[in-house]
Symmetry: C2
Subunit: 147 residues, 2 copies
Amino acid sequence: MPKPAPTTPDSTLKATGLRVTPVRVGVLGVLSKAAAPIDVPAILAKLPPGTDAVTVYRTLNTFTRKKLVHRVRGEDRSWRYAAGGAAAETERHAHRHPHFVCDACGTVECLSGAEIPRTLVRSLGVGAGYGVTYAEVVLHGVCPRCG
Amino acid sequence: MPKPAPTTPDSTLKATGLRVTPVRVGVLGVLSKAAAPIDVPAILAKLPPGTDAVTVYRTLNTFTRKKLVHRVRGEDRSWRYAAGGAAAETERHAHRHPHFVCDACGTVECLSGAEIPRTLVRSLGVGAGYGVTYAEVVLHGVCPRCG
DNA sequence: GGCCAAATGCAAGTCAGTGGCATTTAGGAT
DNA sequence: ATCCTAAATGCCACTGACTTGCATTTGGCC
């Protein structure tokens, strides 16, 4: 039988036409294992000590441009990154999904299961001349841990 | 006949129990005249020269806490403020409304006319234990000027 | 192995926003 | 009208996220 489509950081990078370097492999690995979107300090903490923050910032910018990852903001002023942009493993996962922000502890979660209703943009009645690319939906509230 | 309910910065501040100071009156005035959410540098530019930025930051934090204004983020890393939080002139306007961000020029607009469907949060099927306070909806795209 | 654009690492800079503290002031009490 | 005090201001320095410049290293192709 054919290979079961491993989808390693390595293969993802090659498929996107990016060079395979330690930092890139590391960042992709961290993000694919993370349960929720995390910020740069958190990513850095899971990478080998001594990893340069600037390189990680540049790596994440590259990934975002290439749509290997997507980013969200919580209430604070930093970006949180999560694996799975448009070029994610399964094309089915390639849509924008809603997020949940806990305003108590600041954590952000992807509501990957949910889909933003296609009717939403329509129902808001945006004026003519506006070209809507996508809708961003962030639910604010309190998570079970802070409940 | 009775006074036609002027709703000046002065009256708004008094009604909220805040002291009436030049900076506060100025900030409220600027925001109430602004057509779209603007950031601190833009607010500062419309205030008398020499106005202290720190004071404006603190003023905006106070206003946000008291819900005299609301704030949104565009693609950049700064907050944009707009008049009209929960304690706005008309109570009818007191809901959270969707926003539009032009990813080309960075401007943000309030879609004040539109209402976020009450069914939205429900339809996303948030897990038990999550207490949703409100939903944030931001449409991304290109505005008529950049179209 | 050798080449070279791409990626990295380090220093330094930018920019939004905050904290500390002495001074001023709004506005109720007198 | 004057006094008093907590609240607000102004100024300084600071934090933290992110960027820019540049010299050095390296992935990947020949």
